[in-house]
């Protein structure tokens, strides 16, 4: 990993931990992000973490760009020694794979896709070496995922698959981004899964849809009363495949304000995970059994 610093105009500094994605890069970015927050540097207006990078927005009248840059570089040493361990939560997210709404959208934007002859799932299964869509879907939901970034629009989570790199699913983004994506679509681009928090443009492949509202500006949804955005970086997600009947039931319960997502407190330790991925994942998922 080689850290790269750059100005983004006269108000931002962008820091990239690594060109490629890894949990090591994520944890270092998180540590630097936290160190920058704790340092309470005068003139800092916002700090935004991403998958393997982060960005500081500052007021150059309060702190000069070179002084801001020097402060961030100082924090890097501190971040290198930070513990790669998180007190976090695992959340079960129901997914209706191959649902009619994303399927309709898949077909509407076929000419923007690498392979117009099939569906996004057909294509993703084939290029990742699965013999059927069913076995591909199983690979998508059998291991847990790590929320490595929240952003793009309105609380959209990017999720990183907690398996060995050679087992990680990778797909390209659409050749030309779509102008429409159904709200709560479960998508995929590069090595990241995502949930589209709102309806809108998008370039990720579409696999299914979740009945869970994950962004609500009016905060009417029972589990979004504290804040309108559901996910935070560091959350762990377990997809749960559901059918149409279950989808309809959960959707109605969310609307009625009676739905409570299954959530359990867990600790995620990167070294422990790297040492024993299957064992760590089993432990993470077991925590949901007590909910």
């Amino acid at each position: 990993m080689k850290t790269r610093y750059s100005y983004g105009g006269d108000e931002h500094i962008f820091v990239e931990m690594d060109e490629e994605m890894s949990l090591d890069a994520f944890f270092k970015s998180l540590a630097m992000n936290n160190a920058a927050r704790e340092a309470n540097i005068e003139g800092v207006r916002e700090i935004c973490p991403a998958n393997a990078s982060f960005q500081v927005r500052y007021d150059p009248e309060v702190i000069a760009p070179d002084a801001m840059m020097a402060k961030l570089k100082e924090l890097e040493k501190k971040a290198e020694n930070a513990e790669k361990r998180l007190e976090t939560r695992i959340i079960e997210v129901p997914v209706f794979y191959q649902d009619p709404w994303t399927h309709d959208c898949v077909m509407r934007f076929r000419e923007r896709h690498q392979d117009p002859s099939g569906t996004d799932l057909d294509y993703a299964a084939r290029i990742n070496g699965y013999d059927s869509v069913e076995s591909f879907i199983e690979a998508h939901h059998s291991a847990p995922w790590f929320v490595s970034m929240v952003g793009f629009v309105s609380g959209l989570p990017f999720l990183y698959q907690l398996v060995e790199r050679d087992k990680q699913i990778e797909v390209p983004k659409y050749l030309k981004p779509r102008t429409d994506t159904p709200k709560q679509t479960v998508g995929y681009g590069g090595c990241f899964s995502c949930i589209y928090s709102v309806r809108g443009a998008g370039g990720y492949q579409m696999f299914g849809i979740t009945p869970l509202t994950i962004f609500d500006a009016d905060q009417k949804v029972s589990y979004l009363k504290d804040f309108m955005v559901f996910f935070k970086p560091g959350d762990i997600v377990k997809w749960k495949p559901i059918d149409r009947a279950e989808y309809d039931r959960i959707l109605k319960a969310v609307e009625d304000g009676t739905y409570q997502p299954r959530i359990a407190k867990v600790t995620f330790d990167l070294e422990e995970f790297n040492g024993d991925m299957e064992g760590t994942n089993a432990k993470l998922m077991e925590a949901l059994n007590d909910v």
Binding site: G8, E11, H12, E16, E20, M21, C48, F152, A217
Partner: protein, 323 residues
């Protein structure tokens, strides 16, 4: 106090100076694209500069007032009519209860800003009344104005009186339009020849130009320094591992059409960026019509900071002249 929307125009939204602090969750700062025009409109009606007003793009709205209201219109040049009688831009004037404010065809610029003494008084969301339609947040029920909407206006300050701006205090704009760029971010992904070409080319504002981003076309396709794509980025040379975006940053999907992210920017994504428009030139983007020829001009940090200071000084002079 209220006014009623008779016709909304093309896309008219409530805006102020935005809601910083939530970009890390994908909720952009938002607010008026042309900040200076919004600030000056508020100064003209005696409001705090961060009061909420209207931003209308290309076509002005038609509004009927239920109460006597001091109003100012700044930004793009568009004939202003109160019950059919012309009024001046960059000055404040009374609109009486029962009268209608409407607009003629756009002459220059792209967006007008309408301030109302007392400011628009819809409920703030996350500290701002700015409309963010993608997240259905802020503004009037989280959306652009529609016919029949009755919009509340707060109480005017004791400083609400008719004033006119001395327009010689406004910045003179170069023609063709110039947008100054501080290269950086993923600039190193382009070959040196391609870097030079970007600044040599004449670009034009594309029809896809909105509050989220302004797209440009007409320049040469970009050439990338060869590399093996990093894990997780995606296979196109313009793909990166999804990272954060700066306001004003210039992303170029596929290396063809640059998109400058503006006030309603997406907070991150998987396309490389080649630097950012300097803060002093962000307002100008909000006044560019589709098809406007534009040149990107390379500057360093010193020049960016000087331009920032000049913009600040100019606003301070205007503030003094109107106080």
């Amino acid at each position: 106090m209220t006014f009623e929307v008779v016709k909304p125009g093309l896309l008219t939204t409530i805006q102020d100076l935005g809601r910083p602090g939530y970009f890390h969750l994908g909720i952009p700062e938002g607010g008026a694209m042309d900040r200076a025009a919004m600030r000056i409109a508020n100064m003209l009606v005696g409001n705090p500069e961060d009061a909420a007003g209207l931003e209308a793009v290309f076509i002005g709205p038609e509004l009927t007032f239920n109460d006597d209201t001091l109003v100012a219109v700044c930004g793009a040049e568009m004939p202003i009519l109160v019950d059919g009688e012309a009024r001046d831009g960059w000055s404040s004037f009374m609109v009486k209860a029962g009268q209608t404010l409407k607009f003629g065809f756009l002459k220059t610029g792209a967006r007008i800003y309408i301030a109302f003494a007392g400011g628009i008084d819809t409920p703030p969301a996350l500290g701002s009344r700015a409309t963010y339609p993608i997240g259905a947040l802020g503004g009037f029920e989280g959306r652009a104005l529609a016919a029949g909407d009755v919009v509340p206006v707060g109480a005017a300050t004791s400083n609400a009186k008719e004033r006119t701006l001395d327009k010689s205090l406004l910045a003179e704009l170069p023609k063709p339009a110039e947008l100054r760029v501080l290269p950086g971010l993923y600039w190193h992904r382009l070959t040196e020849a391609s870097q030079d070409q970007f600044f040599a080319d004449e670009w034009k504002v594309a029809p896809e130009a909105d509050r989220m981003g302004y797209r440009f076309r007409g320049g040469n396709p970009m050439e990338f320094v060869e590399r093996e794509q990093p894990f997780g980025a995606g296979s196109d040379p313009s793909n990166i591992v999804d990272g954060c975006y700066s306001y004003g940053s210039i992303q170029v999907p596929g290396g063809t059409e640059p998109i400058v992210l503006h006030r309603d920017a997406v907070s991150g994504g998987g396309y490389f960026t080649i630097g950012a428009i300097i803060s002093a030139d962000m307002d100008l983007i909000g006044q560019l019509q589709p098809n406007t020829p534009v040149r990107f001009v390379r500057v360093d940090m010193d020049k960016a900071l000087t331009a920032r200071q000049e913009r600040k000084d100019r606003l301070q002079k205007i503030r003094k002249s109107l106080s």
